[in-house]
Symmetry: C2
Subunit: 643 residues, 2 copies
């Protein structure tokens, strides 16, 4: 039954195309590590020009700085001042959340933005410390050192962790390991952020109730226990001031939703709360009258801390762990924020370049009294809203912070803890994305489960456990998908004008069974994890088809495998096809292959699957294959009758 006997078939699969190993490997590596093809602009440039383009690629300020002008600066100045006003209360609050001296929070909003402005590729991102990473690092470091047990070492471990984070982010950027961040899904991040928001809000009960003793744990159960046990310490003054501040902040938040043009009111509200809090505390002698304040803040810009990094300390391990875990999450958060703002502005950011920028900013930060920074959503959204045009707004932000540190810092020593707690609580509300959870529940139950595992894992166990469980579940889901790829049986879908196509019979009940021929499509990839399953599943399809055929006094003569959707196959998959061919041949059934893709054709040829099946039984379309099968069937029947 050679091709010549099978009538005229218009197309054949090109079985001769083979890429040399080097070419194939290079193509695969490029897709894996350089999916954005950053060098494509080089192709048409001279050597000198190329060096300049490369430098611009790694230092974006050279690109946008050259085109910078005064009209852009007006916008950036306004945006920079706005985010600086938000950075002061946020810096102090998040430092309190991490239990480090509040001045470190202000330092961390001063140096990193300048570094980001040089290396960063996002126009909208505003840099500073974030709540989730602050609490996460504190919870990890406190397992070994607490601010009470060693108040000098404790902040040094934060600088060390920031260095670790920076080194990790920088090397991920250079090694182009952006692929790792891809494994933190949106569902995981949504659940993680929501759970974190819940436990961060609960932590604020300490400040809002004016408690002195509290728990070092972050989970819901421990915190609620601590509040109940220490309820006698509760100060009514704190509670009263807290309620007033919460109302102001919630009101301004509501105003932003109702009237987006007044976004600056909600952007300034935290600073207003801090300043009025300072005034109240100053006037009523807060510390003595039930309104604890943050305490002394020294005047002066960031001291150099390069000598304080604890690489040789016995506690380096815990700083390493904190830096890696919190840094990874901060990176994912920053890139997600950058991407969503870029999308809104019809712009694009480069994940690998961002990692390099984050890395540089955290390394330089760790040398200059800063702890971990990234691009927090609240601040970046305000920056975008305020109309920033370029990364210059971060420079303005930085200058403002340095001026505050030089002249105003000591004034903030009156800031009441309750004001900071109120600011944090309101900032956290937006992180619990009810609507996203409902959406996930409606669209994809597994994603909803992944999200809830992160949410409840974080709230009831610990932040890192919640994250690990959720990522683990996402990966298990992906592996189960891999182990049980979808197969379906195709039927003929005819039409008025005489043409017909082949589609899944489950999906299109109108599709008609093809007598004598079983057409199956395989999902991708055909790998070790599913080779055994596919073999069994195909024999099950065949058994069902034979039962059906027998009822109609017919038999199955061909099994046609549509490989159009199979983009990758490994040696186990190839072995499975060979075994299937042997089994089918024993039952006098012919195996036919349809439309194998480039990478698959190469492997099928190398593994001699094509030789076993016969190249004349490899077709480009299902229609060609079915035509050829029916033609051959007719012919053999004729022969049978003739004999």
């Amino acid at each position: 039954m050679g091709t010549s006997e099978l009538g005229q078939l218009p197309h054949k699969v090109d079985l001769s195309r083979k890429r040399p190993f080097g070419t194939a490997l290079r193509a695969d590596l490029k897709e894996t590590f350089f999916p954005d093809d950053p060098f494509r602009v080089f192709s048409s440039q001279s050597r000198g020009r190329r060096a300049w383009t490369a430098l611009q690629y790694y230092v974006p300020i050279l690109e946008w700085g050259a085109k910078y002008n005064l009209s852009k600066f007006q916008f950036d100045l306004l945006a920079g001042i706005t985010i600086a006003s938000l950075a002061i209360p946020q810096g102090i609050s998040y430092a309190k959340l991490a239990d480090i001296p509040p001045i470190i929070g202000l330092y961390s909003a001063a140096v990193p933005p300048i570094i980001y402005a040089i290396f960063g590729s996002s126009k909208q991102l505003a840099v500073g410390p974030v709540a989730a990473a602050s609490l996460l690092m504190a919870s990890i470091i406190k397992t070994e050192v607490t601010p009470q047990s060693d108040p000098v070492l404790y902040p040094k471990l934060f600088f060390t962790a920031a260095f670790v984070t920076g080194a990790m982010q920088l090397s991920m950027g250079i090694l182009r390991l952006g692929i790792l961040v891809d494994f933190l899904s949106r569902s995981t991040i949504a659940g993680f952020m929501g759970g974190t928001a819940v436990i961060i809000m609960l932590q604020q009960l300490k400040g809002l109730l004016g408690l002195k003793t509290f728990t070092q744990h972050t989970d819901i159960v421990s915190v609620i226990k601590a509040v109940i046990i220490n309820r006698a310490e509760c100060k009514w003054q704190s509670v009263l001031v807290g309620i007033v501040f919460l109302c102001i902040l919630l009101g301004s938040r509501h105003l932003r939703t109702a009237c987006p043009r007044l976004f600056w009111v909600s952007a300034m509200a935290p600073l207003f709360v801090v300043i009025s809090g300072c005034l109240i505390a100053f006037l009523v002698h807060g510390e003595a009258n039930g309104i604890p304040t943050v305490g002394d803040l020294k005047k002066g810009v960031n001291p150099i801390t390069i000598g304080q990094l604890q690489f040789k300390s016995e506690h380096f391990g815990v700083a390493l762990k904190a830096g890696l875990i919190a840094g990874f999450i901060a990176l994912a958060e920053g890139i997600a924020v950058g991407r969503s703002l870029a999308l809104a502005a019809n712009d694009q950011i480069d994940g690998n370049k961002e990692m390099i920028a984050y890395g540089c900013m955290n390394i330089v930060g760790s040398f200059t009294s800063c702890y971990l920074t990234t691009g927090p959503f609240s601040k970046s959204a305000v920056n975008a809203h305020a109309g920033c045009k370029t990364q210059m707004s971060n420079v303005v932000h930085s200058v403002c912070m340095l001026l505050v540190l030089l002249f105003l810092a000591p004034l903030f020593k009156w800031t009441p803890s309750v004001a900071l707690s109120a600011i944090i609580v309101v900032a956290m509300i937006g992180l619990i994305e009810y609507e996203e959870y409902v959406h996930l529940f409606k669209v994809d139950k597994v994603d909803f489960l992944i999200c809830m595992v992160a949410f409840f894992g974080v709230s009831f166990l610990s932040m890192d456990m919640g994250l690990v469980m959720s990522v683990g579940l996402s990966i298990i889901r992906a592996l189960i998908y891999m182990a049980r790829p979808h197969t379906s049986k195709l039927g003929k879908l005819g039409s008025v004008d005489g043409t017909y196509i082949f589609r899944d019979m489950e999906q299109y009940p109108d599709a008609v069974n093809i007598p004598g021929v079983l057409v199956l499509t395989l999902g991708s990839p055909v790998y070790f994890a599913n080779a055994g399953y596919l073999r069994e599943r195909i024999s099950r399809w065949l058994e069902a088809e034979e039962d059906y055929a027998k009822k109609n006094g017919d038999e199955v003569n061909y099994v046609v495998l549509d490989l159009s959707g199979v983009t990758s196959i490994d040696s186990s998959g190839l072995g499975m096809l060979k075994e299937l061919n042997v089994t089918l041949e024993r039952r006098e059934i012919k195996m036919v292959l349809i439309n194998p893709r480039l990478r698959v054709v190469e492997k099928l040829t190398k593994a001699h699957v094509i030789d076993l099946v016969g190249s004349e039984w490899v077709f480009l379309t299902v229609k060609d294959a079915v035509t050829a099968c029916h033609f051959a069937l007719e012919e053999s029947r004729h022969k049978g009758r003739a004999q």
Copy 2:
């Protein structure tokens, strides 16, 4: 641009089909855990009949036993005696390999075969201890207890590990977790077995050279060091006898290859070597003259050891680890052997049923002085060769072993260690599958790497490290595939008879570009791990297409996404499609979807992607979509001209 204006298109995608959540979940769970659909035979049976079928399903002896007759027994008797003759030397050798009393090796070949005959589904599998698992368990248990430090506890930990193995295998079978075994790829198993064979052969240097002191480590470096250090202990008598035995065994092995009908010569050769070894040792007073022997073997069948299981011992942890790791490998090995023999006999075995059988046999084994057993390849191949018809050959095997234990066991105390070492070395040669490695190198470089990682990891590090690294690499490969799915641009492939189809332009350079329309196929699945990549990759395709179009004074008006190959999509993937739609709309480009599959249509509808794209822009074939795009383009140009 509604459908009505787009001319007559023969087919539409059925967007109304939606399966209730319960139905979809049930279908997915069934494919995941019951891929073999074991209950399909029940559908047409009465209740009483169903119970009987279910019982037969779990206890296959009820099925084949009912049809058993004398003519089958003739074959099974011969096969059973043949494998028993192989089981005696193998049992003693593998027990020596595990450093447990040799009699345990004989016990382990006596009870488990009967249990397997009751519950097992493979006709060809012959049950007994295996070399790899023996050495692996010994290397794990020796980290805490050695036979020198506590000769009483040491074998008890082996019984405990066997119980753990049995419990694990039984529960995996009941919970239908055969899916886990799927993740041990053939490449991993080939490399692991090869590496294990190398280190097991090296271990035999002790016996072949007649050394007294040796290392507890298994890696190549430690073993060679130990041989060099202890070279003074070397006995020429052992070496001489060893060479003779090796020649006999290799000769018989060669005979089997040259003349397959004489397989029984090679099957009997190990027993012949043991018996002649016993004679030599007895005649020359071996122990005193440089030929160490195995020492006392007590007469009598398996003693009950149910009370000796060490669940409350401080060393239970190590037994648990040994039982789980070795049990998992033994399971994979046994199922692989069962599958390949079943395939050769045009038969099928049921992985989950096999796990239940293995579980029962190891649990019962651990109660009756047996250590871990599975289906070794050498013994099972001999069983199949000898012409066994049913599981009855295992019963015969078992009876033979019990008779040996009752009457002949003490005679084997003269067995020289060198004979056992020679037997093991020759048995191991077949496990180093050079040809498979070459085949893997030719067909799939990554699979070759996975295989070599297992091979060298086992030889130079340790058995468990080699295995974990190799499985880890397989999973990373699968995850990278997931994170970087293949996309390709389709072009028009015309033909003489006027029909045309759309195929990958890289694969078919004849394919013609479609002006104004960019057709892309996406690989499967569209998941969180690749949503970001796909978004960037699609914009890169679009950019390249726009550059090309600009050169021809044209522009790109449509991006057509062929979803035929996408069998699964999650919420991140859906989000990506929505974002892509927004980005394209901003650039006045229309997004068009082709042939979404059943599961994908459901999600697209739920997530309102169909609403955003417009259901009139979802087509069943690329041809329909391109026709519609060109029709709409013509129309808008006409309108443009008319204005």
